[in-house]
Amino acid sequence: MKSSSLKNLTYKPSLARNVGNKILTITAASFAAISVLPLLLVISYVIVKGGSYINIETLILEPEPPGDDLLSAGGIGPAITGTFIMTVIASIISIPVGVGGGIYLAEYSKSGRFAKFVRFGTNVLAGVPSIIAGVFIYAIIVSTKILFGSMFSGIAGGISLSILMLPTIIKTTDEALKLVPDNLRRAAFGIGSSKFTMIYNITLPAAFNSISTGILLALARAAGETAPLIFTALFSRYYITSFDDLFYEMGSLSVLIYNFALEPYEAQNQLAWAASFILVVLLLSLNILSRWIGTLGAFSKNKV
């Protein structure tokens, strides 16, 4: 009797439940492998294929008009500066608005009706397709020529990118400030600081790391966006040479990839791969940087 019950307690791999278990585990493992595969493939193609077209000329020259001449295809210089300029414009708009809005939600109106509405609106705005942001800016800025008579412009492109950055920045600011313990606020009030002083000197510095993580992620998303730019900033093959050029068409890496990938010429396709290389390296480093900042002693639910 005793030996038989002991026998029943041993692990039998051939039991249906154990076989089923193993099959499901292998299935899950293969799903994980399939999910990682595209990343590895895309990154290796972009690095190998795109990286092989990178040289000093590609980085600096202006792209030539499409044609099949591999030697005079030019480079992606204006697109790099254009992407940089438009993300800077987008940041100048969206960082104050986003951080300000987040401060209002977390510090002034924690659970009021208006705050709930704004949080809901932020989530909805985050779900608005990026091309709609482009259509919206086209309708209010490009087609009305409201910006000193200019139509397609780098500024319009930057504004449409700022709409996409806004929800991420508001959300991360709101959540980062909510994680700052209330003791710090009470202590600041206790020694007589005003609310502005408290926010400026206590809670914002305490939440600084998490907020910068959010801003970097938003920047990374904006720098890679194409859809809002194709009919706001359009594309340009030339460097900007003066401040006025901000009010004219402006090239960007992402639009360059889109335009040149669909050209039938090998030379343009190579420039598209080179631009993808720059863009992917830029975005991956922004992402890794933001992760690293996020680990630098930010307040988290577990730590406080």
Partner: protein
Amino acid sequence: MPLRVDKATTSLFLKRRRPTSEKLVDIGFKNFVLAMASLVAVVLFSIFAVVYYESTESITRYGLRFLFSSAWNPVTDEYGAFTAIYGTLFTSIASLLIAIPLGVGTAIFITENIIPKYIRDLIGIMVELLAAIPSVVLGLWAVFIMEPFIRPFLNMIYEIFGFIPFFGTEPLGAGMMPAILILVVMILPIITSISKDSLDQVPSNLRQAAYGIGATRWTTIFKVIIPAAISGITGGVLLALGRAMGETMAVTMIIGNSNNFSWSIFAPSYTISSMLANQFGEADGSQVSSLMYAGLILMILTLMVNVFAQWIVKKLSLKYQ
């Protein structure tokens, strides 16, 4: 020993008021952040208002007929977005059906202790980095690498199952199927990372209790862990659906951009966003208004999905904490 303060000091403290400048800064700052928060609401409302206003011409002209007609003829001014709406819904739902098992399976695999933690963390980070790759780069990859690679397989399916209308045309490059596959790549990270977060939050007591009464790992997962995390998983899936509907660049580059309606998943097609990306630049007059109408439909679709996602997360979330 009580602190003794003489009268002069007390009155000094009582007289000390906050300086007016500090008060002004305080009030000014409050109003500034209030204005910034309101700006979000203003932007959201004006997006809807502007897109609606720009599309009124087409709305009054075509009404609901717009949804069911696949005419798109700038010469005769006859527009209908049926192909694009069908394409949007079909590609996003089909990609979702492929991505749900892959994403949730991956999330389960990296939250269970099947393999060492650092490998699981690595997989998690890699899937999240996949989300950082811009869609235009995925489109480029899809056009030059993925589509030529899968075409023989699609051709095989066409030769064997060609009599079924869904596979009824020969795959000649760009088409709906490559678009569905690239959408899977784009929404996988969303489903995986949100599912992983909600699986991580299931308290370990539940798992231990299930193991204690003799459940196997996968019985525990299916009967205990997934039901406990279902709100987060559903929310993630719906967010992914919203993203798939609005996704523009990669789809535009690979779907073939044709307004001819076809049941076949190998034929070129349209989604609302690819139609906007493709035509908006050159459109004028009533075509702009029709494109805006299509954009409005896209916004309403994604809005419904997103609101439903937020609602279902609230509704289904079990309070374990």
